[in-house]
């Protein structure tokens, strides 16, 4: 990659965010960004890369946008000319890029007034720089569907003249939640690998972490710290999670030497900071659970008592059948498989998780450990019925084979 290209890759996201603020229009800003890129490609090879490439690109983009508005006005009717001049006059004169423009952009893209299905797509495209086609591949959607969500979301921003700003700390409640949720969903889509192309999914995890880091830098709210901790701790184990041939490696069987220790240390420190500022968000408690796993030198060293206690806490913060299921698994590790099995049977009896593959797989695993092989096999077969992801299917099928003889 040429030097110009790598500067471009590093800066284009922030330049776009600043141009959106200056030009107050997504489409016009994207056009200006493209123009700035053309100008850089033409001039930088002659003049060298400027000392502050971001400021250069912002100023070039802004200049080109004004130029365009002028030129278009010349050929169009008088009303448009007046409009353009007026807009130009309103344009703030300082072209100095401001560090938190990217964050403003996230808050705008995740505004509660934007339909929920549009928020993720818009954030991924405008903030993370993914293409419509990449977003569609990652979410197994059709490109036209994603494209239209993005168009609708942009129209909504324009129509409601949504403010382009990071809410002040006292207004953050409610606004922060949707942003954190979108970041969490972006990460999960990359992490859980339910479908799509592998390379894009890895990129999604990296983008989610980058966005969350920016958020934490400007608004170090405990919930944001908790989410960043959770993402870092999950991501730290990513390399060990997949075996050769793309097979799933369970936590107990993972090669812990392949975990990213630096990221674990950072995540654990963030958990500590977030825990000092209750009330605790679900993300923070989930991060604490991940931190306990990461602290164990071997699977046998895992502090299941601590993890069970954290699940009790999580159940109070975020009661859901899935949390109950995870808690049952932790209790099985602390008190033995029979104790966990009782809880899972109760849970399945309530019906909410009867189509959830992990509930059947967890039950199967406990039955297997209790030596109840026929029942274990039947439970794995139930799990297989609700599993679509290829690597997971291979894993479960392997377990069924292991119980056959």
């Amino acid at each position: 990659m040429s030097q110009i290209e790598s500067v471009w890759r590093a800066e284009s996201g922030r330049v776009l965010a600043t141009l959106i603020r200056l030009l107050r229009d997504f489409d016009r800003a994207e056009e200006a960004l493209h123009d700035a890129f053309l100008a850089a490609a033409e001039q930088w090879p002659k003049t060298g890369i400027p000392a502050n490439p971001r400021a250069w690109l912002v100023s070039a983009g802004r200049f080109k946008a004004i130029d365009r508005i002028r030129r278009r006005a010349k050929f169009a009717d008088i009303a448009r000319e007046i409009l353009a001049t007026e807009e130009e006059a309103q344009m703030p004169q300082d072209a100095e890029p401001i560090a938190d423009d990217a964050l403003r952009l996230i808050f705008t893209c995740c505004h509660p007034e934007i339909p929920a299905d549009g928020r993720i797509a818009l954030t991924l495209r405008e903030v993370a720089g993914l293409t419509t086609e990449e977003i569609a591949a990652a979410f197994l959607s059709k490109t036209p569907a994603i494209a239209q969500r993005i168009v609708r979301a942009k129209n909504r921003i324009k129509e409601l003249a949504l403010p382009y700003e990071v809410p002040e700390p006292e207004q953050l409640a409610g606004r922060l939640d949707t942003v954190l949720h979108v970041i969490y969903l972006i990460f999960n889509e990359g992490y859980s690998a339910s479908h799509g192309e592998a390379a894009i999914r890895t990129e999604l995890c990296g983008e989610a972490i980058r966005l969350c880091r920016q958020l934490v830098e400007l608004r170090p709210e405990p919930d944001a710290l908790g989410l960043l901790a959770l993402l870092l701790l999950q991501d730290a184990r990513k390399a060990a999670r997949v075996g050769p041939g793309g097979d799933i490696v369970l936590l107990v069987d993972q090669d812990r030497a392949r975990w990213d220790r630096r990221q674990i240390a950072e995540g654990t420190e963030l958990v500590r900071r977030a825990f000092a500022r209750p009330p605790l968000a679900a993300y923070t408690i989930e991060a604490a659970i991940a931190a306990v796993h990461c602290a164990a030198a071997t699977a046998d060293d895992t502090d299941w008592a601590e993890i069970s206690a954290l699940y009790d806490l999580l159940l109070r913060a975020d009661a859901s059948p899935v949390v109950e299921l995870n808690r049952a698994v932790a209790i099985a590790m602390r008190d033995g498989p029979a104790a966990g099995l009782r809880l899972i049977d109760d849970l399945l009896g309530r019906g909410e998780l009867s189509r959830f593959r992990y509930a059947h797989a967890a039950k199967a695993d406990l039955l297997r450990r209790l030596g109840r092989r026929a029942e274990a096999r039947a439970a794995y077969e139930m799990a297989l019925e609700f599993t679509e992801q290829e690597a997971e299917r291979r894993f479960i099928a392997g377990r069924i084979r292991g119980l056959a003889n």
Binding site: D27, L38, R68, F75, R125, T131, T132, I146, I150, V151
Partner: protein, 121 residues
């Protein structure tokens, strides 16, 4: 990626335009092509004569036969096209929205399909 912007229009698309309006539309259209060119987006563009001047051709059993164009007077027809280079579908949509005829007709944005090499297994 490349996208073909197909300009669809109906029999009444130009009804509201007088001679001056029509000239302005032509000028705007040519200017927009130039703008796309400057932005590195332009690959090709042409306007098409009406379906009255079209002939449909087909070959069956080695024999070439022709009929009139398929469109009746009341239906939308293809009035022209612009082949563009864009970063993604949403950029293509933005560029298509800038086509002056988008305000009178409708633009269909179609990604270009890359035919896989038929000789590769």
């Amino acid at each position: 990626m490349r996208y073909l912007c197909l300009v669809h229009m109906g029999p009444d698309t130009f009804d509201g335009l007088d001679e001056a309006g029509r000239r302005r539309l032509d000028r705007d259209s040519l200017n927009y092509d130039k703008e796309l060119q400057e932005g590195g987006h332009f690959i090709a563009a042409e306007a098409l004569e009406g379906p009255d001047n079209a002939v449909m051709v087909k070959v069956r059993n080695g024999e070439t036969s022709t009929t009139d164009g398929p469109f009746s007077e009341t239906k939308e027809h293809l009035g022209g096209f612009i082949l563009i280079e864009a970063r993604d579908m949403n950029e293509a949509i933005r560029l298509a929205a800038g086509i002056p005829l988008a305000r009178l007709g409708r633009i269909e944005v179609r990604p270009i399909y890359m035919i896989p090499d038929p000789d590769r297994p």
